[in-house]
């Protein structure tokens, strides 16, 4: 087995069963693990000597969650609560749930009732992110989260520990940007499912260990000659694209994902925490103001579409796939404007709806095939 194959196998194992990795990590190190959604400050969890674990729902049949949510709620929220009720997150010592949309607002409230064994840690990020008042408010939220994490970990988070944590995460982000930019030249090695597995596993693994493995992978791929790709190249946009069926359709149709604009993937590492202040807590609070291009981040200019067009230009992609998480109203509000922008720029696009419980819609294959023939 080549070095590349070995590394890929490792990433796939972790991406497919993160529970096993996290439980082993807890057993081996004696450290605790804390879950987080979307853009919660993972640096604080890490600085408290705990493992940050990304929670993005999963493929699980919904039953117990039906007592908390009507059926028309997004499946990230619904499947996460279902998993929580079924005890699948019992290894977590807490979970940070933000309030960026109405489903998340109510999710936090339901979590504390439905999954009491995993402590709900509240995070309400300001909508007016770029104002000083917003930064100050977020700082106050982070102070409360820091207290909760210190209590759970039984330690005090020092400025030094937090600065170190920020450096580790900046290193992680830089490494991931390097990975995605190299990977786009090797679509025959880094297929869409492998690309996803590499990125996804970073949300569970201990960061320095993960950075080391990704760097090894990047070095090993770069040692290979770049080959001409005779398939199609696309950029995907949405909250997440975690569907084995979709990856299969891509691979059957020789479609490469050359860049993504997904909340679970590139949006996690698009920009770094800057040296905007001496106080590391303030640095973290200011980071939230620098993020852009996500349906959960207030932006009256809606720059997401422009950023997407730029990604298409930069990668020479043939088109865009809008991966709609079913019942995600923030994404539903963004879609028509992005669609219009893509049409005006004559960039072909295809729309696919995904549901974590039931898988993607049946017409996805036909639609993607037609799209691949058209571009």
């Amino acid at each position: 087995m080549s070095k590349i194959d070995e590394l890929i196998k490792r990433f796939k194992e972790i991406a497919d069963s993160p529970d096993r990795y996290v439980k082993n990590y807890i057993d081996e190190t004696g450290c605790k693990a804390v879950g987080y959604f979307y853009y919660a400050p993972q640096e604080l969890i890490y600085a408290a000597g705990m493992l940050p674990v990304g929670v993005w729902g999963g493929n699980i049949e919904l039953s117990a969650v039906r007592s908390y949510f009507p059926s028309f709620f997004c499946s990230v929220v619904q499947t996460s609560i279902e998993m929580g009720i079924k005890g699948k997150f019992d290894y977590l010592s807490g979970i940070i749930i933000p309030a960026n949309c109405d489903s998340l607002r109510t999710m936090g409230q339901n979590w504390k009732v439905a999954v009491p064994q995993v402590e709900f840690i509240s995070l309400v990020q300001p909508v007016n992110r770029k104002t000083e008042a917003g930064v100050k408010f977020l700082l106050s939220e982070y102070v409360e989260i820091k207290k909760a994490l210190e209590r759970i970990a039984g330690i005090t988070i020092t400025d030094q520990a937090l600065n170190n944590s920020i450096e580790v995460f900046n290193k992680y982000r830089e490494t991931m940007r390097c990975f995605t930019s190299v990977a786009q030249n090797y679509p025959e090695i880094i297929t869409p499912s492998i690309r996803h597995a590499v990125i996804k596993s970073g949300q569970f693994m201990e960061k320095t260990q993960y950075i080391g493995l990704v760097k090894e992978l990047v070095a090993a791929i770069k040692a290979r000659p770049i080959q001409a790709w005779n398939g199609k190249k696309i950029v995907v946009t949405g909250i997440k694209m975690d569907s084995p069926e979709l990856f299969e359709i891509f691979e059957d149709n020789k479609i490469a994902v050359v860049a993504d604009d997904l909340a679970q993937e590139t949006r996690q590492f698009r920009s770094d925490v800057l040296l905007a202040a001496d106080d590391p807590m303030e640095r973290l609070a200011r980071y939230w103001a620098t993020l852009d291009g996500c349906s959960l981040l207030y932006d009256p200019d809606k720059k997401r579409g422009d950023m997407l067009l730029e990604a298409v230009r930069a990668t020479g992609a043939d088109g865009v796939l809008f991966c709609m998480t079913k019942f995600c109203d923030p994404e539903e509000f963004d879609y028509p404007i992005i669609k219009k922008q893509l049409e005006e720029s004559k960039i072909p696009h295809v729309y696919v709806e995904i549901d974590l419980e039931t898988g993607n819609d049946e017409q996805a294959r036909t639609r993607i095939q037609a799209f691949a023939e058209m571009v």
Binding site: F69, C101, R105, T106, Q109, E132, A133, F327, E332, K339
Partner: protein, 405 residues
């Protein structure tokens, strides 16, 4: 007394005037703002801005059965039918720009406030982009703790100041502290008058058919900072109080059962809902709105807290308390819940709320599926069956109570 118009009639006229004035202002070349229903009206009133409320407009359009055309337009533009129907009606209107059922002047700027839901942010962001006009955003963060934290009050107050200065620059109008004090007083007086009118429903039988709340609340949403609003709400409260004394009520027939109406009205079927409840002698004598519009305050800190403690902005425990208080105070025997397909914020924790309310008060709770303004969701048959069953349970409980005496 006889030659004086009833409050109900004056409220209807004031609402008509609200739209007529805005349309006239637009014709005169004045700037028009579209505002979220819970954007602090005091700020706009102080600056003398011409504001209309798309949520109120969407409800009016739906009540006049004109919603489908606008919903169809929004959906044709790519807006999913999963999106709030008020937003869809408004986004459709933003394209079509005219509506015979209720005209609305097109905006020059937008005033958004997200205390009632996060959906407002996406809706107004979309309008700003589609119409290429400025958006002034007031973020009232969701309260995960029972009380509004001091950091929230501080953040909200800073934004009041920011929005005021931004609006001064944009509109060229000046904010005056004296005028602000005056407006706060008027608003608070309206809040007190509203509370007095709503308190009248605590009386058994209630002097009012509860469906009237839905026609009165529009005025509070649109114009609570105006003297004429305070006056007419006081008149309404006076009328209701004299009806209590004379034993009259606008509820037709015997008030057999007293219920809490939960959720936004199902506007396209309001007449049907009224008739169905009427058949069983069921009167609405409480809704969470009764408390939501009682805002009374005398300074910026208190105003920030008031705007942060509206329904859908507070945590589960406080939401439950808002309802159990009304149930206890107004002698309520049952609860009818509208699972409003449009409102994820409302539906997202209503199941747990119901369990807690039932446990604390012991009243029967029955639900129906519907939508505030998309007529395709509601089913008359389901509503009738559910109301019938609620009525039967309440009858049984009443009999049991009699038997126990």
């Amino acid at each position: 007394m006889n030659d004086q118009k009833e409050a109900k009639e004056i409220i209807r006229e004031l609402m008509e005037k609200h739209y007529e004035d805005a349309i006239a202002a637009k014709k005169n070349g004045e700037l028009i703002g579209w505002a979220a229903s819970n954007f602090p009206q005091e700020l706009a009133e102080c600056l003398g801005l011409n504001i209309v409320y798309p949520e109120n407009h969407a409800a009016a359009v739906a009540a006049k059965k004109a919603a489908p055309e606008y919903i169809a337009q929004a959906e044709a533009d790519g807006y999913s039918n999963d999106i709030c129907s008020y937003a869809r009606i408004n986004l459709g209107f933003a394209q079509l720009k005219t509506c015979a059922a209720q005209e609305l002047p097109m905006p020059d700027y937008l005033l958004c406030c997200n205390n009632i839901c996060s959906c407002m942010v996406k809706w107004y962001e979309t309008l700003a982009k589609e119409l290429k006009i400025p958006l002034f955003m007031l973020d009232i963060p969701y309260n995960t703790s029972y009380e509004v934290t001091p950091s929230r009050v501080e953040y909200i107050k800073e934004q009041f100041k920011l929005v005021i200065s931004q609006l001064e620059v944009f509109t060229g109008k000046k904010f005056s502290e004296d005028r602000f004090k005056e407006v706060m007083e008027i608003s608070s007086a309206s809040g007190r008058a509203w509370r007095r009118a709503m308190d009248a429903m605590a009386s058994t039988p209630s002097p009012m058919n509860g469906f009237e709340i839905f026609s009165y609340m529009g005025l509070v949403v649109c114009n609570k900072s105006r003297k004429e609003t305070t006056d007419v709400l006081n008149q309404l409260a006076d009328e209701l109080e004299s009806k209590i004394i004379s034993g009259e009520s606008s509820f037709k027939g015997e008030e057999k059962h007293r219920i809490l109406s939960e959720g936004i009205a199902c506007w396209p079927y309001l007449g049907h809902n009224l008739k169905t409840l009427g058949q069983y002698g069921i009167n609405i004598v409480g809704a969470v709105y009764c408390k939501a519009f009682e805002k009374v305050y005398s300074n910026l800190d208190e105003m920030a807290v008031e705007y942060a403690t509206v329904t859908n902005c507070v945590n589960l425990e406080k939401e439950v308390k808002m309802r159990t208080d009304i149930i206890k105070e107004n002698n309520i025997e049952g609860m009818l819940v509208h699972y409003n397909r449009s409102c994820k914020m409302w539906d997202g924790f209503i199941y747990e709320m119901e369990r807690r309310i039932a446990e604390e008060t012991g009243i029967p709770i029955v639900s129906f599926d519907g939508d505030q303004s998309d007529p395709r969701i509601f089913s008359k048959a389901q509503f009738e069956t559910r109301v019938q069953s609620l009525s039967e349970i309440m009858d049984q409980r009443k009999e049991a109570r009699k038997g126990n005496r």
